[in-house]
Symmetry: C2
Subunit: 345 residues, 2 copies
DNA sequence: CTGTTAGCGCTTTCAT
DNA sequence: ATGAAAGCGCTAACAG
């Protein structure tokens, strides 16, 4: 690739002028401009992104960070990414996905701050190192989910009200007369699992009912949701007389459906299922899944918008505001939950 | 953030030494190394990605490029991205998603070669400008899909055999006795739509049957698949006596299911549906969708692997090989297709 | 409106 | 095994 110097020479102008033709940062006479553009065209020149970045210290890229050991996106993440992208699209930012293995993240030889202007952090956990690390690097950051305690004050984040979401789901099942409600919860180190458990317990207390600790089971971090849903449901449905189940996500619910079908247990007649989920999915279950919609697309969009706004503020040297955005969840009544009285088992 | 100069000063060594501690490119005595690392730790230093990039001309990032006007990923893309990421994960590459609007892509002020070492191009179209552009920039590129004619010789790409996939689907329906088979095809400027149409016609010829040109309908580029599937099916099912339909993707198939349900047309008794699709999806339809699986995850993985291999070759200055990889498709017999004899309409 | 010059933070010869 | 100095390609003052 040609450099700015060659273009300047060919066009008979200075480097600075060429630079300004491409950045538009100061007025250039029409004739010079066309001469430069022609020279650039014949030399097949495009400005070098890295050199520019080094000079202006802005990459026009934002990062998306999720825990490095699970390098696979889910349905929820897909919507979320689409939400983020739609904002990037409007603002001229690129999206960098860092899915490096821990090996690369920690090796001295690969140690480097990601080449981004700001970052969106997914799936915060209770002992999350990432947030403090970014703060130390002075990298604008926004968390999707509930940040671990202590940090939530100084930080922007967007989240659902997961306490309320879990309460709604649990309360729905309690009202249907269920007493024994198993809850296949998110991995226990995620902050979201704490919130949801709180909501679950709250619903029981409100209803004047009692739950048992062992009814709440966390998905092991490394395990596939679908698989764990399947094996857990199989185990539970064999031993206990659990008439209702809440699942962490739609893949997990699929596992439960699968297990139930295999054992000849009918949904919702013999077993009620309700789940957290991503919008577009639930209608594809049969029976359609009763669920709380997380609206991943909105979460992603809100997060990106907030981050990009902060970046703009920073440029204008205003103070950074710690915005907190709660994206509402929607309760969708499907056909997978029914009153306990029709349970025949 | 501290710079390498400050670290060097604090550790009482030269810049070059600090550099080599972090790159591991030449041996450093243990005592100097620890002194440097300590200095770096107290100053909170990390090597600057852009400065390094400018010097070594490698970004360790690859790009994922899709047509800029549709900045939303589909289910198929999700699997594909996951496939790409799993390879990046292993090789220490980051993934850059460029979803800039056309405005940004073409403005002189935003003109710049993406800061990537190589790129994966999605959804090639017949008049695709992107490929030649990349070739001109001498950027290693790999296409997912069938490149436009003329370019396929000099280029690496990974693709399904879409001619065969369409033939299988069509032939399946023909064998069931269907004669009038509507085909809601991919947007017509995509190379994939040409291939699939070829396969569709091939099946008819093989069966000694005749098709009509108007049975093949392309999804307009800007339209949502689900919406177009719905409106088209509604229209077709009203006017014509079409007993079978092939759809471009699962969202489109959903639209067809929806339309059929609304009109009281039963699948598969009154209407057979078969579709191209992404694996995990089809089982969620009721009835389960007869389909050909594209294996997006494999496509993404193969593409990334090939690209990363080429980048490695380039470093070793060997010649670039134009690899062509065909990822097999799987025909899945669902319950959405049935012999025409049970059609009662 | 345009030219000149000094960096941006790192890597990489070439010395020692 | 380490240091010194010359860039990588661009931008940003400062002049004019």
């Amino acid at each position: 690739m040609a450099t700015i110097t060659e273009v300047a020479k060919l066009a008979g102008v200075s480097k600075g002028t060429v630079s300004n033709v491409f950045s538009g940062k100061r007025p250039i006479s029409q004739q010079v401009k066309t001469r430069v553009l022609e020279a650039a065209a014949t030399l097949n020149y495009k400005p070098n992104y890295w050199a520019r970045t080094l000079a202006i210290k802005k990459t026009k890229m934002i990062g998306l960070n999720f825990l490095s050991d699970e390098h696979q996106f889910s349905q929820f993440h897909l919507s979320l990414i689409n939400g983020v992208l739609s904002e990037c699209y409007k603002s001229g930012y690129r999206l960098l996905i860092n899915a490096l293995s821990n090996e690369y993240q920690t090796d001295i030889e690969h140690l480097a701050r990601d080449p981004i202007d700001g970052e969106i952090l997914l799936d915060p956990s209770l002992d999350d190192q990432r947030i403090e690390e970014r703060l130390r690097e002075n990298l604008p950051v926004i968390v999707i989910g509930n940040p671990p305690s202590g940090l939530s004050e100084s930080l922007s984040y967007v989240d659902n009200d997961n306490v309320e979401a879990a309460r709604k789901l649990t309360s729905h099942l309690l009202k249907l007369g269920h007493e024994h409600i198993s809850f296949i919860n998110a991995p226990s180190q995620r902050t979201v699992s704490v919130d949801r458990r709180t909501g679950y317990e709250k619903a029981f207390v409100e209803a004047g009912m009692t739950y048992r600790d062992e009814w709440v089971i966390s998905i092991p971090p490394e395990e596939s949701s679908a698989e764990f849903g399947y094996t857990t449901a199989t185990r539970l449905l064999k031993k206990e007389k659990c008439g209702a189940m809440i699942t962490d996500n739609e893949r997990c619910a699929m596992g439960v459906y699968h297990a139930a079908k295999e054992m000849g247990i009918r949904i919702p007649e013999d077993l009620s299922v309700a789940s957290f989920s991503e919008e577009s999915f639930v209608s594809r279950f049969s029976p359609p899944l009763t669920s709380v919609q997380l609206n991943g697309g909105h979460l992603g969009q809100a997060a990106a918008r907030q981050l990009l706004a902060e970046l703009k503020m920073e440029e204008a040297e205003s103070t950074r505001s710690a915005g907190r955005i709660i994206v509402p969840t929607d309760f969708i009544q499907g056909a997978s939950s029914a009153p306990i009285k029709i349970n025949i088992r």
